[in-house]
Symmetry: D2
């Protein structure tokens, strides 16, 4: 699954560090896989805020000059997926505003499910909105809160909102991190030489040499203030968690530690369980790079079928790729992956991938592998069929576009022209991702259609 | 006065034209002298708004592609002076928001004097602000209005605000132009092949071949809707006008028709009256390009002293000019103006300019003219001494920086090292600009310190 | 004549100055009117050459970083007119090569008339060419010279070439300036705090505070070496000069001193003689900005008809201007010039310009002036009819396109729809430009078709 | 070895295709791993050449507009490694010149060892050089050839040159491919729907759907002309081949077929032989991504030690990476690779890489792996020690910088702080890369110091 989902966001914050903006820049660098189309950092020197935002990769947006302009010892940053055009810039993060609470900046990863309803109410009451993001709603509610402190105002605001959110706020002299009560998205907390840091994933800590302390807990608010003091408030009563299992299946980097388990370990075990549940007589296991590689390794290890990197990824594919006007066979997939014919020729091939979305890419891929000489092509997917869209922060196609929402496994197998197709079972997936004891620990709505946070009427 | 003031803004709107955005682009082109550091256009196809904004000259921001993206038959645009950096972008115009009135876009030329007071109140009531411009305040008041229509909401909002404003609003299917009751800034209204247009100055109409109808009247709201119908509402009772006389003295283009008189004519007459009031025995009249040229012509005509273009302007000076590290004599003025020594050598020279702000530039200029061989240098200014800052939309230095606020004409003459210095009288200026009958027709606060619209306590 | 000719080039060189590249940058700044589409500087620290070239204005190409990279105390620079695209870059100047003479850089203003013939011969002998400019030919001939020194090699090379050239060469430790024997183009020589400088026009010296010494003489080679020693060699025997009279009529900046006379003075006298030779009963004199302004002033002075700036120039017109799809009357000229109707209405107007090339622009202009209400429009041109193209460095249209090459003055008058048309006489032009005593001092080929340097067979 | 060598170039040509430039663009896309710092394409419509070149990735340089400008049915392209600055642009390829043979364009992959000697001679004879690349020398020799045809002139020119070269020339209506007699660099030849194509590697053919025919043979000239006719000339007598074995070890993409064998197969076998020759008691095999992955797989397969992707690559590392001022432990390697601690902790780890150059990166890497908890770290290199620089087109450090040129394996092991270090033997490498029968088939100079093509005196 090399081009199907788009990760929404990565967020990062650091408090009281002499090079706060530079560290934030590094943190965003390590989180680029969560969104590489725009990025921004805002810092505070306790008098003023300094903001730099732009379209493109972190490396394209920031240079020595822009980082030098980001003065101060507090900085928060954001990297995201977004579409082109002016409409994007107005949704760019961090969002920075002035209101009754003073200057306020916010980075948000997730999705609020009742944002539109609250927004409608706020508009009726006279609020104005610059963009279309749900993040603005959070700020309006805070601005309208009559609570005496910004912490209490945030709490009051969030009490009116439901859905998935990891938030990092910055005021002139504080940094505040909050995670939704169900803990949908990952949110790591640690220290870099004594300076507190928060990030979407632990891989950001590894790059800057920070020590992972623990996750920001679901329903927790962490308040960083003064010379580096940390206060924890449980601002929502404990509820059953709903960690996004897709972070393990696909999103997070394999070197991150997410929801209490290494992502690499989860993926490897997904491959192992997949091999056990969906065995096949074959000559080689070929993982779809990069997301299927670790599961493919697990599959190979368990099945005893040798692993081969039969599909080579072109690392230099950018967003803009100009196709020839005249059609080239299998061009769409070939520009990203090229088969090693000598490995595939005459072989019974098991392709290991992490999902089938619309089925069109799998179909082209299998056609290409067959054209390279494969005798048989068996598709194995390291999770159950994806039948429902995500409303908690993953950019999925509509239900209608998800092939598994309206087709049986057999029908999908026919459509993608595989010799066989096997998905990992629901239980297998849960077990592989560490949910052995604690049933319901994960949000699996995309596989079950059961959404752990309800939608307002008509929201879908 | 080639680098002392910065014009704030030019605005433009066109309703029901098949090439609305392209015409808006041309209109902004003709208004570049009012602000060439950023520009933007928003258009509506009655379903959606399309926005393009950027830093730099109109010509740098818009190309065929960006203009093609601006679909629809209604468009409003803005060009402005602004400083660099991210802080600017958040203040960029047109401002486009969503609120209880639906999509709303706004371009503003002028300055609201009680904006901060209203903003403080709005923040207390929970409003959030993206930037620091007073224009946001207008939109917040509209969004909060309980009036049933957008027109009434605008009226209610503006009733709470004082100061100088020409505004052009766009909703999905309407364009609304409003001018403050005192008519501080110019605001022309006309038709281009039947399509209504509004613009800061008539020179924009000339470029697009539109016919000037009349000014948007002080206190008037013009509502353009349907297939091109125009409704006029006088939303404020008539008060004495306060047209910015500085538009005639310096701001507007000489080919514009402003406040009922051609700017060229005003400047020429300023020169004539100046020659009468401040005669001098001299050999040549040298105007300071470009703003002093027409007044210089008038001075020469009246005095009989021949006009010579003794200072040649370098047309290619951009915003970024890298100076040598080692000092070069008179470099700062010479990079913009170069004297023709053969004209000046041995001559008694009258320099005609339109103002002295800090005095430093005049001092350098006179030094340079003397170095070119002038026997005497007499400075003549086509208006009275500038003693007070503008709070109605002209970017002037503080009172403290204005040399005439604390020095007599003799002291200024000594400082700038002129052989003589003469300013036009207050009455002469008024007469030259057409205010013969109607005393008080103009705002002349920068010359008198008498501000026609009061400030809230502590606003200055 | 605001858009008809394109100046070819401006060149600049400075020897032994601690900020050589920065001074070269300033020099090019002052020479932008000679070509603002590309520019380049090469410097030498006596070990290595440092080169920066780019498309666009000098201000766009150079910043602190690029100037800092241009190390060393010798620098030469070039600014030119050129068309877009890659083909241009390969013709970009300064040209920098390595050959038997070591590193060699060259800036060239002018045009060699036998370049193609020499190039054909060189190609037959095995030379390769990167671009299409005649400047490369000079370098090839130098490279092939067997003379022991670079000075002698240059002399040998130039002995094989005919036409117009001002050249400034740079070797690792020398700067060498050469002007063709007939002195077609201007070439000033002076000192900036003791450091020798050369430039196309003296206005470059004024900006940097350099003192004009004299022109580089026709046929002279100036060799700057060592700590700042200057050697002059007359490398060609004296011949009758052929200074381009069009430099006075149009090209050079009015504040430059060219061929022994101030350009401003020439233009003023052109206007005076024009008024004497081509009197007209009229109410106002309106010069075409910017090039017609000084002649217009002279015309007004001599005729006693008052001068008015009845056409206002839009200073912000860039190279890319997007026209509306729908036609706007007189749009092409109006985007650059706008008439002040109140000055023109009901008046008999004399338009003063410096040339008519194809006639199409004049025709549109007159139409526009009539539409603004002029009762009569009389066109007066401050030189004789332009009947022949220039082959010595001015980018003129072909003979066929020059309206005066095939039409009488009466026919042109009819075509441009003027009430009358009058050109200055040939003798009047010569006298105005200072050629009273020395007949033949100027090249006037564009007015006479008599070319002072012959062309190889078939060259035209 | 993720950042040690820089591949020099990739070249591509296509003849008689309706979308020649677009296909060339795709070909270069697939060859980006051979040089991603600049690229260029030149096309011919048989009348004119069209050139586009730029700095950066192929995707950054070319867009629809630039590709549309590249008209015609013949196109050749080049992608290369290069340093920043103006000096690069003058060395940019394709090189396009005009000479006695008409217009001529050239792309070159390789390095000529006697270029400087020939260049010195040419300069003495009057040639001028724009840049410093050896490619210009080829063109000068062709231009000077008296042979009647361009093919013979190329042959005569190449007869004077020694070293490594794959060349693709374009004239107005021909494409000519030539490979040096020893066949140093790979050069594939095939057909895309009947249109002949040549490319550095077969992976370019896969992307465009072309069929690989055979290699351009060492010493062969292929002449494509007319409607698509191909003529082969063996322009040099057969000599023993010297294929660069490093193309198998590191350079080429694993999905390419190079010198008669799949690169993937070679690397896998390098891993197998390495495991046999340098066995080690360990728990996991961790390959260094990306270049060590296939060899690591082979090592794991042969040794029976499980493969784990214990080092995760950050795919978003660009050329400009801003380091914090304050040091972060192991930052230099960590920005590219991050260890999965849970895989490594307490394990005996075998790291498989394809070379050690200076040793500094390996040292940091091992330090980082130990910090992640490894009990033991054993380094295994899939080729012999690199003791000598390459002079045939690979950008290697000097001999002095190559740690193996002056240190024993034991000393290197100590320096990099590994528990053990094992290199593959010379014979093992040859066998793995397919050189079983034909001894001497490969150039192995970097491992032996024995250079198959002699250098002129003093060339090193």
């Amino acid at each position: 699954m090399f081009d199907k989902w788009h990760e929404e966001c990565g967020i990062f914050g650091i408090f009281r560090h002499s090079e706060a903006a530079r560290i934030a820049y590094l943190g965003l660098y390590a989180l680029q896989h969560r969104g590489q189309e725009s990025a921004g950092i805002v810092s505070s020197d306790e008098q003023k805020f300094f903001v730099e935002r732009g379209m493109g990769h972190v490396a394209d947006i920031f240079d020595e000059n822009t980082l030098d302009r980001l003065k101060g010892e507090i900085a928060i940053g954001h990297t995201r997926y977004s579409t082109a055009g002016d409409s994007t810039l107005k949704n760019a993060q961090p969002v920075v505003v002035t209101c009754s609470k003073g200057n306020l900046a916010l980075c948000h990863n997730g999705n609020l499910v009742n944002a539109q309803q609250v927004r409608d109410r706020l508009e009726k009451e006279g609020s104005i909105f610059q963009g279309t993001s749900d993040t603005e709603v959070v700020l309006h509610l805070i601005a309208r809160s009559r609570k005496p402190t910004v912490e209490e105002s945030i709490q009051e605001a969030l009490a009116q909102l439901t859905g998935a959110y990891c938030l990092v706020f910055m005021t002139r002299d504080k940094m505040i991190a909050v995670r939704d009560p169900k803990g949908f998205r990952p949110f790591a907390y640690g220290f870099m030489n004594g300076s507190p840091v928060v990030a979407s994933e632990t891989c950001a800590f590894d790059l800057i040499g920070a020590k992972f302390e623990r996750e920001v807990e679901p329903g927790e608010m962490l308040i960083f203030s003064g010379a580096g003091s940390v206060e924890s408030r449980q601002i929502f009563p404990p509820v059953q968690h709903s960690h996004c299992i897709f972070e393990h299946v696909y999103f997070s980097r394999p070197d991150s530690f997410v929801f209490g388990q290494e992502v690499y370990k989860s993926r490897f075990q997904l491959g192992i369980y997949l091999a056990r549940e969906q065995p096949v007589a074959a000559d080689i296991v070929v993982p779809i790079p990069d997301s299927g590689v670790v599961a493919g390794l697990g599959f190979a290890r368990e099945s005893g079928i040798p692993l081969e990197f039969g599909l080579i990824r072109n690392h230099y594919v950018g967003r803009t790729f100009i196709e020839p006007k005249q059609s080239i066979r299998n061009f769409g997939v070939r520009v990203k992956l090229n088969p090693c014919a000598h490995l595939i020729r005459g072989q019974r091939v098991v392709l290991v991938d992490d999902s089938i979305v619309r089925g069109t890419t799998s179909r082209k891929l299998i056609k290409m592998v067959r054209a390279a000489g494969a005798k048989e092509v068996h598709m194995r997917i390291s999770c159950p069929p994806t039948i429902s869209p995500c409303y908690y922060g993953v950019d999925t196609p509509t239900k209608r576009e998800l092939i598994a929402s309206s087709h049986t496994v057999e029908e999908i197998c026919t459509y993608i022209e595989a010799d066989s197709l096997g998905y990992l079972s629901y239980d297998g997936m849960l077990r592989a991702c560490g949910d052995v004891e604690k049933k319901g620990y994960f949000c699996t709505a995309c596989y079950t259609g059961k959404y752990p946070v309800a939608f307002p009427d008509g929201a879908l």
